[in-house]
């Protein structure tokens, strides 16, 4: 049942509010947006941090006057490659782990009853703790969500141990060389353009 809220009826003099500054958000759009963001987890976080790393770390390394120009260029190319490869693999691994955890923590009885194969049925519940009684209890205490997040983090760490060496290393090396060549070509063109003027 939805709760109806009376407009312009917030009494900030009530005992619960006494003492100090507070900000009450009135806009439904803002509240909804913040609520949607609350549903984000590690894949979205990794994507945001990865994209901002591409935009912020690369120029910091490219314009680093503490080293010579050649080192600066290679460093920027490597940072760009590392951020790009790390973001893509990181997001995919995290998303995959969350999907896998959700598949193995099924509590909906109707869906469970529809599964005929006993092995599949047991697999679909294998990550639920033995003392978790109902979906309602889990939702009320939020422990089920935290339990899934903790499991997802451990599994992702194990998977990334493999992907770091199997994927990140060769791909970063490959793209570093490509970006390094591109940056050198760009520098050469801009030097020629300045010299031509």
């Amino acid at each position: 049942m939805a709760i109806k809220i009376e407009q312009n009826d917030i009494n900030t003099q009530a005992p619960a509010f006494k003492g100090g500054w507070n900000k009450v958000i009135q806009s439904d759009k803002v509240i909804k947006r913040i609520g949607d963001i609350g549903g984000y987890s590690s894949p979205q976080s990794r994507l945001i941090i990865g994209v901002t790393a591409l935009l912020m770390q690369t120029p910091i390394d490219y314009y680093n006057k503490r080293v010579d120009e050649e080192t600066r260029t290679v460093s920027a190319a490597r940072t760009l490659a590392k951020a790009a490869v790390g973001t893509v693999t990181g997001v995919i691994v995290r998303y995959g782990c969350i999907k896998g955890i959700n598949m193995c923590t099924l509590t909906d009885q109707a869906t469970l009853d529809a599964i005929k194969n006993p092995f599949i049925k047991e697999l679909r519940q294998c990550l639920i703790p033995t003392n978790l009684k109902s979906e309602a209890f889990a939702k009320a205490t939020r422990l089920a969500e935290k339990h899934k997040q903790a499991l997802g983090t451990f599994v992702a760490l194990g998977v990334m141990l493999i992907t770091n060496f199997a994927l990140d290393v060769p791909l970063t090396k490959f793209f570093t060389n490509i970006f390094n060549d591109k940056l050198h070509q760009h520098k050469k063109k801009s030097t020629e353009a300045k010299g031509g003027k």
Binding site: I25, T52, V67, T153, T176
Partner: protein
């Protein structure tokens, strides 16, 4: 006990342990796993730099320390900066400094605070998370001094206590969605500042100094080269002794 049943029992114990001990305090676990992840990633990239033949020795002398410092600085700044930002955002919501109109509407009811029992009156504003978890559980258990229906439920247009109890999930949902959103936003801002601004700045300083040291451009890290103090040989020493002025006390001195 067969191997399969032992393995199953061991696995179930791990899952239960995760639920009881690790899930309630995710912050520490995220820190430890994050630190391990950064160290392993750094190790992998140091290997990547080492095996890349297109990068020459002088550049590797910068890139390897840069990568190692990246992991160390990231871990340190995660503890100092990212966690501070996250705690700040969460405390804004927990202490009622930043709330939605729905929660404000509920809190403005003096009767609501009173009905939850005296002990919660001052605690409500100081820890909303506690209110929305334990407070509501107490409501369900019936730890009330007076009936709720004529005051809080009427204002919230909930006809009776049972419906109010049924809406517990809704009210908690409203609070927790907002809390999680603010927590995500504040931790992301902290991570961007620590990982993408401060970490590259500090690691570049360290890596540049290490490169100058490793390539022989300076003989010591950040210390100027001082001139050597000239040493005195035996001949010079004898000459100084023979030519020094007579310093024996005068015999005219009287005690």
């Amino acid at each position: 006990m067969s191997i399969a049943s032992f393995a199953k029992s061991f696995f179930n114990n791990l899952i239960n342990k995760n639920y009881k001990e690790i899930a309630p305090d995710l912050g520490k676990m995220l820190l430890y796993t994050g630190a391990v992840g950064w160290v392993l990633s750094s190790l992998a990239h140091v290997i990547a730099i080492g095996i890349n033949r297109k990068i020459d020795k002088d550049q590797k002398a910068f890139l390897v320390p840069q990568e190692m410092a990246d992991a160390a600085v990231n871990i340190a700044l995660f503890i100092v900066v990212t966690r501070s930002f996250t705690k700040f955002g969460e405390n804004l919501v927990k202490r009622g400094k930043l709330i939605t109109k729905d929660i404000a509407k509920l809190l403005k009811e003096d009767a609501f605070a009173e009905k939850l029992g005296r002990k919660f009156t001052t605690e409500i504003k100081s820890n909303l998370t506690k209110t929305f978890s334990e407070g509501f559980e107490d409501l369900e258990k019936g730890v009330l001094t007076k009936p709720v229906e004529n005051t809080v439920t009427k204002k919230l247009e909930i006809p009776d206590l049972q419906v109010f109890k049924n809406n517990k999930g809704n009210l908690q949902g409203i609070y927790y969605k907002f809390f999680d959103g603010v927590s995500f936003i504040s931790s992301t801002i902290g991570s961007i500042i620590s990982c993408n601004l401060l970490t590259p700045y500090f690691r570049n300083i360290y890596a540049a100094k290490k490169q100058r040291f490793d390539t022989g451009k300076v003989t010591t890290l950040d210390r100027p080269i001082l001139p050597a103090i000239p040493r005195t040989g035996m001949d010079d020493f004898r000459q100084k002794i023979l030519t020094r002025p007579n310093t024996t006390p005068s015999t005219s001195m009287k005690i």
